[in-house]
């Protein structure tokens, strides 16, 4: 079985994995990273979105072996010193989650969206989150949260 080395949320793991093992199952079932959920089997819903070397990927459509040597950040590794990332905080403030199942993926996708467009318009946010499905919120508050998160993150960059 292939042996891989992968860093997840700052911790380095060495694992022997079946070649067919999905990254999301490595995270959830081998490393106990259950913060990243699975919502579908066709990569449509985006619930399993994580950062792979700084870019968002749907971890259900990445093999664990493809993550060999990579750095993975999940929703569990976003906060610093026990406080939430500004995007997580923005989701809380704007009531951008209800059941919360899509939320980890939505937050990761939102942060990734801001890499390309730090001050996105409503239209850009809606288009940018097209690959992440939510069944509870109707997306209104998610859009607001991403805007707020973008402002706060911009602020954080400017003041640091």
């Amino acid at each position: 079985m292939p042996r891989i080395t992968v860093t997840v949320d700052g911790i380095k793991y060495e694992e022997e994995v079946e070649p067919r093992l999905l990254l999301v199952h490595l995270l959830r079932e081998r490393l106990g990273k259950t913060g990243t959920p699975v919502g579908c089997d066709t990569s449509n819903c985006g619930a399993c979105t994580v950062m792979l070397d700084g870019k968002s990927v749907k971890s259900c459509s990445v093999l664990a072996v493809q993550a060999d040597g990579c750095d993975v950040v999940t929703i569990e590794g976003l906060g610093v010193d026990g406080s939430m990332h500004p995007m997580q905080q923005a989701f809380h403030e704007e009531h951008a989650l209800q059941c919360g199942y899509c939320t980890p993926g939505m937050v990761m996708a939102a942060i990734d969206l801001l890499r390309d467009d730090p001050e996105p318009s409503e239209e850009a946010i809606r288009q940018g989150l097209e690959g992440n499905l939510c069944r509870c919120t109707g997306y209104c508050n998610i859009v607001k949260a991403v805007r707020r998160g973008a402002q706060e993150m911009g602020q954080a960059v400017r003041t640091s």
């Binding site: 066709t42 819903c45 809380h92 989650l97 989150l129 499905l133 069944r135 209104c140 508050n141």
Partner: protein
């Protein structure tokens, strides 16, 4: 010191932190030592006799612990329950959790594998050999009811029929100046909660614990006992974090029963988690009705009578409340309107498809769609504004309480106020002017305006009324409140939230009732060992029934505290007034806070006679009537007549849900509800092919709207407090979904009316809209082809 009132505040949710940081307890996150994984082999045939099942090939594979066929569990698996025998003539067929001799829909479980990990359990399914003898599929409801139709069950394809009459319907239609006669199709939907179902069952050899992604841990516990014969007190059900339900998790599923029985058979913890494509096949579906509606009116638009005849697709079996769903609409077709006569008939039909059951709104969106579409047709027929025709018929605000033609008594409401507010927010006149302009110009992109003035009966439900409709349980709810020694408060609710934010809202209610800080309240739920009594969450019932139960428990706690305070303060209980969390002796500065009294009860050093060493209480609340939220939704769409593309330009909703505990949560519920209703209007449909195969098994085929498909909704509220409960609340969980589907379709039809179009079947995809627009041309072309 004045304490800010908590009820009415847009409190940020207590639930959020763990959900936002991934410290969640979804059922699939849970693991038990030695846990095994279950997979199910599912029927690829819509209808077939099972002639042979051989699981031995699977048993031999590495990692496989066991494999079973339906036959292996035939003696103990029982029959999945239907709790709502709606009529005398109802046929409730046997529904084995794992098929034994016959399969009746694609996806029905026929065998299972239990293995050490989920990959091996999935692999081993391929080594199971099943032989089927195909039987004819039954897919069309009208055909299913014809004499020569193949049968889904021995007893035939009719599950039940119900008829309700009120007033003289013949007189209403006799010589009526206007009769509108329409047939609408409520397409089949897949509820699609984001969390797929999962079940984990464990046993210590005597008792069982089952974790399930369910809305109904309490109902499930009772039903698991009934189905399996395992004594109720040996079953504990836990609904941990549950990722949405929308009615789809208001069910007693084959997988829940089988995981429990597998844990018993193997003496090991077993877990099953569905894939999305497995879920699309086997989570119960929603809607699926053919509605024949006739409405008789006077020349001025006043409704004389309404006749409704439904065919409701049950699918292959009757599940928990399958037959009751269309009947939840029976009293709702007459909606907010006054009329002289009403007739409702419904026939439940078996087909070889996944059973239908509750989906957000459950019977009421279907009814609201039917009447609101027909009201627009009436307006068009009489060349009246659709808002005006509603105005001429609705119950006026000074007529409440009002007993409708179908016999329900609406306690409160103000349809005028909600509508006026919505029209202003929408800019109705300006949009009508733009519409006229585009029509005049022959703009290929036409503007349509749709209105929907809905009400719903919710707050399910008065137990007495449920009894009258032959439902197998009550509709009360339970709550308990206990003051802890340090003055903090633990609340236990029988409701089972899965996204609705009960922990936050209940904390607000308790903070006000007991005068304690919001932060000092915790709310426990969803575990039958902790919340020992409850009727769970569905039907917009949690706040208006469960929240009230919690409030009533607080009242009892206060009464206990009053006795204790009087003893400690050496006064009469009548001399005490409760204010800002403390009992004060009137006219003095002497007082005891509720926290001090909680500690006094804990130490029990100085208790009066007859007062126990605890400051806690519980209560059940059983409403005497349903509650009736209402509202006016307005939708503007742009329809591209060249491509059939529909774009929602603006959407306004003014809802009256009575008193609001947390406006942020209410707003969120409305947002999500509207999105789901729009999804029915524009995007979603569970499609079966001519052989009964579901074609929409994935989220690539079954189109949930994304952020890019929806606009931002403009919301406002009016407030007519409910009179049936002390919170004045009406419920909000389903309102948006009920209102929005007809608002959108009315808008599309409104845009196309100058083209001679008076209906577009849902979902109104670009193809459907284009076909309707080009029907004549298509027909001509087809005839030309024939001539050639």
């Amino acid at each position: 010191m004045t304490i800010q009132q908590e009820v009415g505040r847009p409190r940020r949710r207590k639930e959020d932190t763990r959900l936002l940081t991934g410290r969640t307890q979804w059922t699939d996150n849970l693991s038990r030592p030695g846990m095994l994984h279950v997979t199910f082999l599912r029927s690829p045939m819509a209808h077939a006799r099972i002639t042979r099942v051989d699981v031995s090939g699977a048993r031999d594979l590495p990692g496989v612990v066991a494999a079973f066929s339906g036959q292996d569990f035939a003696a103990e698996q029982g029959s999945l329950p239907c709790a709502w025998p709606v009529s005398e003539d109802i046929v409730i067929p046997d529904h084995p959790p794992m098929a034994v001799s016959e399969v009746r829909y694609v996806g029905e479980a026929v065998a299972c594998v239990i293995a050490t990990d989920r990959y091996r359990a999935a692999d081993a399914l391929e080594a199971i050999d099943v032989e089927y003898e195909p039987l004819p599929a039954v897919l069309d409801m009208n055909e299913a009811l014809t004499a020569g139709s193949p049968k889904v069950h021995e007893a035939g394809n009719k599950a039940f029929s119900v008829k309700i009459n009120s007033g003289d319907i013949e007189a209403a239609f006799r010589d009526a100046p206007v009769v509108i006669d329409r047939t609408y199709r409520q397409q089949r939907l897949i509820p699609s909660a984001m969390e797929p179902r999962a079940v984990l069952a464990d046993t210590d050899g005597e008792a069982f614990t089952i974790w399930s992604s369910t809305q109904i841990p309490h109902v499930l516990r009772v039903m698991l006992a009934v189905v399996t014969g395992i004594p109720e007190h040996k079953i504990r059900v836990i609904a941990p974090d549950v990722g949405g339900g929308f009615g789809s998790k208001l069910q007693v599923t084959a997988e829940e029963v089988l995981c429990l029985l597998l844990a018993r058979r193997l003496g090991k913890p077993v877990k099953w988690t569905e894939s999305r494509s497995e879920g699309n096949l086997t989570v119960h579906h929603g809607r699926d009705q053919i509605q024949h509606i006739r409405l008789a009116a006077d020349a001025d638009g006043r409704i004389r009578g309404l006749q409704v005849d439904l065919l409701a697709d049950m699918g292959a079996y009757l599940m928990l409340v399958t037959p009751g769903i269309p009947l939840l609409g029976a009293s709702m077709f007459n909606a907010i309107y006054k009329m002289d006569a009403y007739e409702f008939g419904c026939t439940g039909v078996f087909t070889t498809k996944m059973p239908t059951d509750a989906y957000r709104g459950a019977g009421r969106p279907e009814a609201t769609f039917g009447i609101e579409r027909v009201m627009d047709e009436l307006a068009a027929e009489l060349k009246l504004d659709p808002v005006e025709v509603r105005r001429r018929n609705w119950i006026k605000h000074d007529e409440f309480p009002y007993t409708t033609i179908s016999g329900l008594t609406y306690d409160s409401g103000n349809y005028e106020a909600a509508t006026d507010k919505a029209l202003a927010l929408f800019g109705y006149d300006k949009l009508r002017a733009e519409q006229a302009d585009r029509r005049d110009r022959g703009d290929p992109v036409q503007l349509g305006i749709g209105v929907s003035t809905y009400t719903e009966m919710c707050g399910l439900a008065p137990s007495r009324m449920l009894g009258e409709s032959n439902y197998g349980a009550g509709g009360w709810e339970h709550g308990s409140v206990r003051m802890l020694p340090t003055g903090k408060v633990e609340v236990i609710t029988g409701t089972s939230p899965h996204g609705q934010g009960h922990v936050t809202s209940w904390s607000q209610i308790v903070a006000d009732a007991l005068g304690v800080p919001f932060e000092d309240v915790t709310v426990l739920h969803g575990d039958t060992a902790i919340a020992h009594k409850g009727m769970d969450t569905y039907g917009s019932r949690s706040l208006v029934v469960g929240g009230v139960a919690v409030l009533k428990a607080c009242d009892k706690v206060k009464e206990k505290a009053r006795k204790l305070a009087a003893h400690v303060l050496e006064c009469s209980p009548d001399d005490l007034e409760f204010q800002a969390g403390a009992f004060k002796v009137r006219g003095t500065d002497q007082q005891k806070t509720i926290q001090e009294l909680a500690y006094a009860a804990f130490t029990a050093h100085n208790l009066p006679e007859g007062v126990e060493a605890r400051l806690d209480s519980d209560a059940t609340f059983d409403p005497e009537n349903y509650s009736f939220p209402h509202g006016t939704h307005l939708c503007a769409v742009e329809v591209d007549t060249e491509t059939g593309m529909v774009k929602i330009r603006s959407y306004v909703a003014v809802d009256d849900v009575g008193k609001v505990v947390n406006p942020l949560i209410v707003e969120g519920q409305v947002h999500g509800g509207i999105a789901q209703g729009i999804a029915q209007a524009l995007f979603e449909e569970a499609v079966y092919d001519a052989e009964g195969n579901l074609l929409t098994t994935t989220l690539a085929d079954y189109l949930l709207p994304s952020a890019a498909d929806l606009p931002t909704f403009s919301l406002d509220r009016t407030e007519s407090p409910a009179t049936g409960n002390p919170l004045g609340a009406k419920g909000v969980g389903e309102a948006g979904t009920i209102a929005s589907t007809p608002a959108v379709v009315n808008a599309i039809v409104d845009a196309l009316r100058p083209h001679g179009i008076h209906d577009v079947e849902m979902p109104c995809t670009p193809e459907r809209v284009w076909r309707v627009l080009n029907e004549r041309a298509l027909e001509e072309r087809a005839q030309e082809g024939v001539r050639r």
